[in-house]
Symmetry: C2
Subunit: 395 residues, 2 copies
C-alpha cells in the first residue's frame, strides 16, 4: 500500500491572489467598463530585450539543422553559460569558478528542488513577511519551521537572535519580496557570522539584486567574508531580464560549503545528474545574451523604467507622509496602511474609491497585517494615475 | 547546525558512461585517426521538425513585443498545450481532461520531482535492468528499494510476484530502456490489477511509446481498465520529437487516483504552484506544434528513420542467430553477448576489433551482465557499417 506524503494536509490554503481576483471580478461586475489600475502584480510588463531575442532565435535555428543541433545538455548547465555567469561575479570581485555555478529552470523551481540536500530534521528559519513558497516547500518536506517576525521596529530586517540559533536553514531574501527592504553589508555580515557559528546554511534569494542602487547594499551574499562556508545563492533572470515566462535562473554553491563531511556542491552535482537532463539549449543561449555587454545595457534600460515607476509612487507616499520601505533598491514598495486600516480593508478602500489594486500584506504572513505591497512592474501612465489618485484620496 | 541529507552517502557512483568515455579515449589515443561507430548514445541525432521550429520562432517573437509578451505561465502548464495533449489521448480513446495533464520540463526532471507526493516509508519496486536514476532518486529520498530482476527467461518483462506485494511504488518503463522489451496489453493488465489489489501506485514511464508498431502493445497505461485508480504516466517529447536538448514533457495524473483519502492530482497542483513558476512559454509553443497534424506527420518521419536503423541492426543479429529483444517497438536493441562474454569484455572486443561502441548491460543493474545495448538514434550509414562489421566479426 502506497502511503501519500501526509504533510500536504498541513499546508494552509493561500487565498491571497484568489481573493484579490474574486474581489476585483465582483467590482468589475458591479461597475462594468471601469478601468482598474493594477499595482499588485509581481510580474514584469516589458518584453525581452533585443540581444536576448536575437540569441533565442539563433538557438532555435541551431536546433533546426543537424550540424548545429544540440541534444542532451550537461545537467549542471552549459559551459558557455556557466562561464559568463562566473565571469559576471568575478567582475564584481567575487572569485567563483564555473564549477560553482549551476543553471536552473528558475529561482522558484530551484528553491523547491534544493531542499533535497538537507536532512528533514533540520528546521528552517523564515523571516516574515515572506514569499509563501518558502514555508510551503518546507511543510511538504516535513521540516519544522521557525517563523521570525519582522516589523517597522527593525525596518523589516531582523537581526540574529536566540530563536534563530536552532535553525538548520536560514532563508534570506534581500532585496526582499514583499517588503523591498534590503540588508546592508554590516547586517548581512551579522547573519553570515551567526550561520558560521551555529552551523546553519543560508539560502540567499537574490532574485531582486539587479534593482539595487545603493552601494552599501550587497548584490551577492558572497560579497561578505565567510559566506563561502555557510551560504547558497539562488538567482533568477525573471526580474533582472524579464524572464518570468521564459524561465532561467542560476545557483551558486561554493566548493567550500560542507557540513558533517559532506560537500554540498558535489551533492548538488550528483542530484542534478540524477534528477534532471539539463535546461533547454535555446533558453541557455538566450540567458547567455543577458551577460553580454549589449544585453547588460539593454536590461538596465528596462530596470530603469521600473525604477522610475517606483520613484513616482515613492514621491506620492512621501508627500502624504506615509511610512514605507523598499522602492529604492527593490521593485516593491511596502507601505503602512493609513489610519490604522487592516490590509484587506485598505485593499477594499483603494478598489472602491480610486480603482487601484495592490496586494494586502497579511497574505505574506500575519506580521504583514496593516501593510500593503505595491509592485512597480506596471505601465508608466497607469502608475502615474494610481499615484495621483492616492494623493487625491489621502492628501 | 544543518544536517545534510546523509542518504547521498548510500548512492553508488555510476561509472558506466564515464568508463565508456575513458576506454574510448584510450583507444583513440592508441589509434589516432581511427573512426568509431557510436551505437551507444541514447540521444537523438535528427534536428527538430519544421512545424516545431516555426512555432518556437513564433514563441520567441511573441516575447519581443509588449502586446504579445507572456510573463508567468500557469504552474501546471499552458491551457493551449494541456488541451492538445488531452485531445491527443482522446483520439486514442483515452478519456482524460486537460486538468489531468501537467506540463513538465522533461520526463527525467518529473521522475525526480514527483517523488514528493509519496511517504518516505513506502518502498519502490524497480525492475532491472533499469534506467539508473530510478534507483538513485529513491536512495536520495531515503526510500527502501525492492530490486526485481528480469532476464531472458521472462523476455525481460517481469510478472507480479510475492516480493512485489509490499511495494508502495512500482516503476514500469515500457517500451523499456535499456532492453526495448514492451509489455503486452495482457501483461500490463496483470500489473494494474496487482497494484489495485495491493494499493501500490505505478509510475509508468512512457518515454518511448512513439516507437511502438505492434498493435498489441499499449502506448499508455490508461488503455488498461483500472489504471485510473493506480497509475501516473510520465511522458516526454525527447525521443518522440527530438526534444532531448530542447526539453519538454508531460504527466497524466487521473483525478480518480487516491490513497488514504488524499487525491494525488490535487496534491500535484499544490506542489507545482508551490515549487515551480511553470515552463517556458516558448517551449510550450514548440511543444504544442508536435501535436498538430503537420507536427505529427513530421515527427513520424524522424521516428521512421530511427526504426529503419533498428531494422538494419536486427537483420544483422537475426542473420547471426544472436538472441535479442527490443528494436521493433523501441529505439533500443538488447542483445546477448555472444560466446558467453561479459558485458565489458564484449565492449572491449567490439571496440578493438571493429571500432563499434555500444553500452554494456551491466551498467543498468547486475542482471544486465552478459547483455549489451545498441541505440538506433545514430546516422544511417554508420549504423549500416556497424551492422556489416558485426556480421564480419561473428558471421
Amino acid at each position: 500500500m502506497l502511503r501519500p506524503n501526509m504533510h500536504y494536509k498541513e499546508l494552509k490554503d493561500s487565498y491571497l491572489f484568489y481573493n484579490i481576483a474574486q474581489k476585483t471580478k465582483a467590482y468589475l461586475e458591479a461597475h462594468p467598463g471601469t478601468h482598474l489600475y493594477r499595482m499588485g502584480i509581481g510580474d514584469v510588463s516589458l518584453p525581452l530585450c533585443d540581444a536576448v531575442i536575437r540569441a533565442l532565435h539563433e538557438g532555435v535555428d541551431d536546433q533546426a539543422h543537424q550540424a548545429s543541433f544540440h541534444g542532451y545538455m550537461p545537467e549542471c548547465g552549459a559551459p558557455f553559460l556557466r562561464e559568463v555567469i562566473a565571469a559576471h561575479y568575478r567582475k564584481r570581485g567575487i572569485m567563483i569558478s564555473e564549477e560553482e555555478v549551476f543553471v536552473s529552470g528558475g529561482a522558484s523551481d530551484e528553491l523547491g528542488d534544493i531542499l533535497d540536500l538537507f536532512d528533514k530534521e533540520s528546521s528552517a528559519l523564515i523571516m516574515e513577511p515572506a514569499y509563501p513558497a518558502y514555508v510551503d516547500a518546507n511543510v511538504i518536506a516535513g521540516r519544522k519551521i521557525i517563523h521570525l517576525s519582522a516589523g517597522e521596529w527593525n525596518g523589516f530586517l531582523p537581526e540574529p537572535c536566540q530563536e534563530a540559533a536552532e535553525a538548520g536553514l536560514i532563508y534570506i531574501c534581500s532585496p526582499n519580496n514583499p517588503t523591498g527592504a534590503s540588508f546592508s553589508r554590516e547586517q548581512l555580515a551579522q547573519w553570515v557570522s551567526f550561520a558560521n557559528e551555529t552551523g546553519a546554511v543560508i539560502l540567499f534569494d537574490a532574485a531582486y539584486e539587479a534593482f539595487i542602487e545603493d552601494e552599501t547594499i550587497p548584490h551577492s551574499i558572497f560579497e561578505i567574508k565567510g559566506a563561502g562556508t555557510c551560504a547558497i545563492e539562488i538567482c533568477s533572470l525573471s526580474k533582472t531580464a524579464g524572464f518570468t515566462g521564459t524561465r532561467l535562473g542560476y545557483t551558486v554553491i561554493p566548493e567550500t560549503l560542507e557540513r558533517n563531511g559532506m560537500n554540498f556542491r558535489e551533492m548538488w552535482v550528483r542530484n542534478r545528474t540524477t534528477k534532471t537532463n539539463g535546461i533547454s539549449y535555446i533558453l541557455q543561449k538566450g540567458g547567455a545574451a543577458v551577460f553580454s555587454e549589449e544585453g547588460q545595457r539593454q536590461i538596465r534600460e528596462n530596470i530603469r523604467y521600473y525604477k522610475e515607476n517606483a520613484a513616482v509612487l515613492m514621491k506620492a507616499l512621501d508627500s502624504l507622509g506615509i511610512w514605507y520601505c523598499g522602492g529604492k533598491n527593490a521593485p516593491y514598495i511596502w507601505m503602512k496602511c493609513p489610519e490604522g486600516m487592516g490590509s484587506w480593508d485598505f485593499f477594499d478602500h483603494l478598489l472602491n474609491e480610486i480603482q487601484v489594486v495592490g496586494t494586502p500584506g497579511e497574505g505574506f504572513g500575519s506580521c504583514g497585517e496593516g501593510y500593503f505591497r505595491f509592485s512597480t512592474f506596471g505601465d508608466r501612465e497607469e502608475t502615474k494615475e494610481a499615484a495621483k489618485r492616492l494623493i487625491g484620496l489621502f492628501g
